[in-house]
Amino acid sequence: MGGEVPEPRKMSLALSFGCGGVPEEALHLVFGYVDDPRDREAASLVCRRWHRIDALSRKHVTVGFCYAAEPARLLARFPRLESLALKGKPRASMYGLIPDDWGAYAAPWLAQLAAPLQCLKAVHLRRMTVTDEDVGVLVRARGHMLQVLKLDKCSDFSTDALRLVARSCRSLRTLFLEECAVTDKGSEWLHELAVNNSVLVTLNFYMTDLRVEPADLELLAKNCKSLISLKMSESDLSDLIGFFQASKSLQEFAGGAFSEVGECTKYEKVKFPPRLCLLGGLTFMGKDEMPFIFPYSAILKKLDLQYTLLTTEDHCQLIAKCPNLLVLEVRNVIGDRGLEVVAETCKKLRRLRIERGADEDPGQEEQGGVSQLGLTAVAVGCRELEYIAAYVSDITNGALESIGTFCKNIYDFRLVLLDKQNQITDLPLDNGVRALLRNCTKLRRFAIYLRPGGLSDVGLGYIGLYSGNIQYMLLGNVGESDSGLIQFAMGCTNLRKLELRSCCFSERALAVAVLQMPSLRYIWVQGYRASQTGQDLLLMARPYWNIEFAPPSPETANRMMADGQPCVDTYAQVLAYYSLAGRRPDCPQWLVTLHPA
């Protein structure tokens, strides 16, 4: 190798191998600017030195699935971690499809990490089972410096844990309990929070049934001047008048309810704080109460009307006044007409969610239901959209093509075709799906839930072929045969997480398909050609790949019932995922781990 200038070679060697080259401190500084976990992952693989520097300087880790890793391993690699997020139960638990005793216990994580992670100040647990004792472990170890505690769709703890947090965590900026199943033993926790904390910025107990005293909310507002977000349970809005007067910095409010029908004079005195621009909840708000939003509508950036009683016409009237909306969440009562108003008015809209209203409804939602008309209007009118989730009653390929043509910034698209209407205008959706996937190049998350005939095997193959950088998919009622699934799988190079529901595929095809997807690390399936034993799933057996199977049977159905709740699931489920932690040690009795003999 003659002829090369020696100095540059020596320099690059020095940089690579740290032989008196770049000082450690400089590398640390540079790493401090690298936040994205994918970049960090890449950097940590360069050499041992970079691996070590990343390990010591990584501030946040998200463990995407709690059974994929072990706490001890996390501790060994990232001893100076400041922020940890852990996810547990499958997404399907939000739809009532995962029994309460499935698992996802926070206990081992908190027991092994809370004390040794001496820099830990932010904890986020999502869809996990958390007990009062677990919270106690965390608070005793880290309470003095805990700034963020998010228990997100968690269950099994009570307000006793909240009292402990309120008393001990005086540095808490964020207390997030959204949609948790909390046993309510009294409202003292809020009083103690108001008395002990003066730096709280965000308080969220939205979509819980926790009862609180208005006086405690007012006290909180007075003591925490920095409070900018309150999302809460359904206290009557007339009880919150004092709170709104006291919390002058508030920008976000969600929750509350209009509990009294026809008592609108009571609500006339409700006035939001002047900077309020993110608004939601307002359960049972009707046409008569709607006007009290009007003074704020011009500055509103986020509006959630999913729990209101507004008609299509009401939606049209209100949204026409909100030109600055970035986020809109509604039920499908908004109708195509409402979506046309959105398209005309909300030019800055980034996120749109259209949820499924009641299937039958006396009078309320007669004009409701969203179709290709509304979707196309929104695609053409709201070019900044990044997230669309819609339950539609009717659909065409053209509507999907329009989204592909006009909404270039979409990174998350979810479409569910409701099952009430017998005739759909334009099926299968093969060409529309292809156009959308080809043109929305930023797509990372994709969900489509149809009906038999909604997407052919060719269309399913298109999804694979044009999957691009999509990392998560939910597919329901797609394809016609195993061939479609295999074609799909052969195209998905970057797919990491897959959920399948109500499809016609055999166990064998599922196993073979999994093996075609090189990036796949997690798959959940319900509704397929299940056998009693899950035998053919073993075709995908391989090292580090856990396969868990919940067999179909009436006995299973009975076990899944708890507290007299009607069972919603008698179907087999499969969950398979890569894990460095070996097989689950804490499976419930009805869950079978499949492995070769």
Binding site: M94, Y95, G96, E179, A181, T183, D184, K185, G186, D209, L210, R211, V212, E234, D236, S238, A257, E260, V261, R331, E355, R356, G357, A358, Y449, P452, D457, L465, N477, E480, S481, D482, S483, Q487, M490, G491, C492, S502, R508, A509, V512, L515, Q516, G527, R529, A530, Q532, G534, Q535, L539, A541, R542, P543, P552, Q565, P566, V568, A572, P596, A597
Partner: protein
């Protein structure tokens, strides 16, 4: 277009006699690394019995099937004749997937499990999120005059039912 006769693949093992005649059934322990061999095989990874497909690995498989040394995920234009598949009344034509499915067929499984669920999942309902379900249920109660949202109730704070100590979040039955 194919000049050969359509080939029928029996995915569910419904025709074991035909399968025995067509394939080399029940091979023991021979390891294969290509799809050209049609003998069924199982192999071991660290003592774990795995299927031939699993031991090959996705990338290798794709290379073999695409028929060239490329990592392109899309099914390459195949030199094999397109194959028409008759499957449960539906017809599909495909190229590169054929070899994979043929291998899936050839791996011996005792297949003791019968198929339990039928074809159509028309009886698998779309489920709602728990939050929306709860809301629709409350609304129903309110409109029908039952539950805590009756007209004319006096003042107070949160009106959701359930006393102290009860589990605060319940999944109600599917609203309508």
């Amino acid at each position: 277009m194919a000049s050969s006769a359509p080939v029928e693949l029996d995915f569910l093992g419904l025709r074991p006699a035909a399968a025995a005649a067509d394939h080399h059934g029940g091979g023991n322990g021979t390891t294969t690394t290509t799809t050209t061999s049609s003998s069924s095989s199982s192999s071991s990874i660290r003592g774990m019995k795995t299927s031939a497909i699993a031991s090959i690995g996705a990338r290798q498989l794709r290379r073999v099937i695409a028929g060239e040394d490329s990592t392109a995920p899309a099914p390459a234009p195949s030199k094999q004749a397109p194959m028409t598949l008759f499957y449960n009344g539906a017809v599909a034509t495909f190229d590169a997937a054929e070899a994979i499915m043929k291998m899936a067929m050839e791996v011996t499984t005792s297949n003791g499990g019968r198929v339990v669920r039928g074809n159509a999942f028309a009886d698998m309902p779309l489920t709602r999120t728990k939050s929306l379900q709860q809301f629709l249920q409350k609304r129903k109660e309110r409109l029908s005059g039952s539950g805590p949202y009756q007209l004319g109730l006096g003042g107070g704070t949160s009106r959701v039912g359930g006393g102290a100590g009860t589990k605060s979040f319940r999944v109600k039955e599917e609203a309508v």
